[in-house]
Amino acid sequence: MLEGLLLGLETAFSLQNLLMVVAGCLIGTFIGMLPGLGPMSIIAIMIPVAIKIGDPSTALILLAGVYYGAIFGGSTSSILINAPGIAGTVATAFDGYPMARKGQAGKALTIAAISSFIGGTVGVILLMGFAPALANVALLFHSAEYFALMIVGLSAIAAFAGTGQVAKALMMTVLGLILATLGESAQFNAPRFTMGILDLQSGISFITLAMALFALPEALYLVLDPKRSNTGGAGGEIKDLRITKAEAKKIAPVIARQSIQGFLIGVMPGAGATIASFLGYAVERNLAKGEERAEFGKGSIKGLAAPETANNAACTGSFVPLLTLGIPGSGTTAILLGALIALNVTPGPRLMVDNPSIFWAVIISMYIGNVVLLILNLPLIPYIAKLLLVPRIYLIPFILFFTMMGSYIGQNNATELLMLTGMGILATIMRFAGFPLPPMLIGFILGQMLEDNFSRAMNLTDGISFMWERPMTAVLLATAVILIFLPSIRKQLAALKRRGVADGD
């Protein structure tokens, strides 16, 4: 491991890569602060830039920096204007915004930055231990196990979708998988489902789909409902960034607990930063006593530190399945996976063996990214926050324009823009009806890999008997089935219990 670490240090500390981390963090913070552009949209926009860079380590370092920056930027807008740019920082607004209204915006930002820093750092350290161990296990996997593992990942994403949403999330996953079959199939080069349209022969571009699913609906929401971009004139003066020793003492145990909890949640596929932050908030509120608990939701520093630590630790955790198994656990890592494939790097257990410099450079640069956020971004926040004063009249056309540029410059094909608009309208309508969109993108990105592994496994065993003949495959597939049915079983049990209570009364 030490050898790898040194290799990573060597790669990450080149001048170019250091600049990339700094640039990535700044760009991420800048754009992440704008309502309507979360990490997924920003990374999707940056992919053409990353591909142009060509060197996978440098490109991935840039994208990881952007990811971190975007999360931090999202917290900033949650705290300052109660407008979380992304779901992962919604819990930050619970206590961060009340603090800002009490005139403690500077303090809130500092706490957010420090908690993110520690959460991210602990996450990176855990990642260094976890990933190689998991990668060693993963080397034993064959295509049958990969197939099963992807099924587990996809069902976990659906299972974590929330009450009453499991079927909808599954439906979106299947839709994503179906979209992925457009174009050409595994092992055969004949077009399928293209309806004779030449532009569809290479399939739907995943950047276009990502933009259509996330950036465009969010921009349309901003147009439809002007209240969403109401910045309320905040973001002007931010003073007093310091926190006292007593406050530091108060939040230290929270940060310690949430770093580990957040990381572990992040490692699970489907449960990313969002769930980690909400769970972290809930756990800390339950642990707090008396007066401290009453303060939650009214500007408690513990209530701010908990979700901030947890979401950053979870972001790092979500890199574990991506880097070791090649399976993205969240929408953002799914986009990163797409970028990696475009850069001719196949993430998975072989990554550590074949391209150790990429693997370790990314880990080291995550750490550098954390430091950059803390020492570079924090003092700049009062200036960056001025961006929130940009009126929506300018903001919205720019968001739409960048969405289109992201999907256009990757392909240089204007038809892509028409597809983007069309799919964006459909995605907006689906969002109206409460269908979760990330499962669709993850299904789409995993679709091709799923089919590749499925075809290989089928060819090896001359049929689908591998599903029950290989013990590990069978166990994984059974896990997937349990995951899907677990929420409804729990609901039934709860209903039974409630009835029991009613009867007993």
Partner: protein, 161 residues
Amino acid sequence: MTLDRAISGLFLLLCMVYGYTAFVTMEANLLPFELNMTFLPNTMPKWLSVLGVIVGFVVVVQSGPKAAEEIDPGEIDYRNLRQYKLGQAFLLLALMVAYALLLRPIGFLFATTLFLAGGGIILGERRFLVLIPVALFTAFTIWYLVQEVLGIFLRPWPWFI
């Protein structure tokens, strides 16, 4: 009928058409030597269509009208779309389509300036002296960054230059 039921119904229909293509059309087009192969281009679509029909059916059955208090205040209530700025949204979408169609013929600089300025005008900006220079400046900066720095070709001028 609620919107989510309508969408899942459409999804069900899509899966049936998809399944028909996989089970019937693609099967008929298989080449003779492919007939005894284990994995075929339509193997995965067959599985997906069956799965999709089952899941789609479950969602159709499950979905129903939501109680008013269940609607997240941050979300948009689609049953009350008129209270939102629908006109602006449609105009902006039309502008996006126009941009897609005009980008090649009239060149990146013109198309982008028109798009940004048009978007501002649709959203109610009337200070043209601010809007047009901002749009021009952005169009040029982005073009410069993409073409000169990133090296991705974007035709800047209309077809006749």
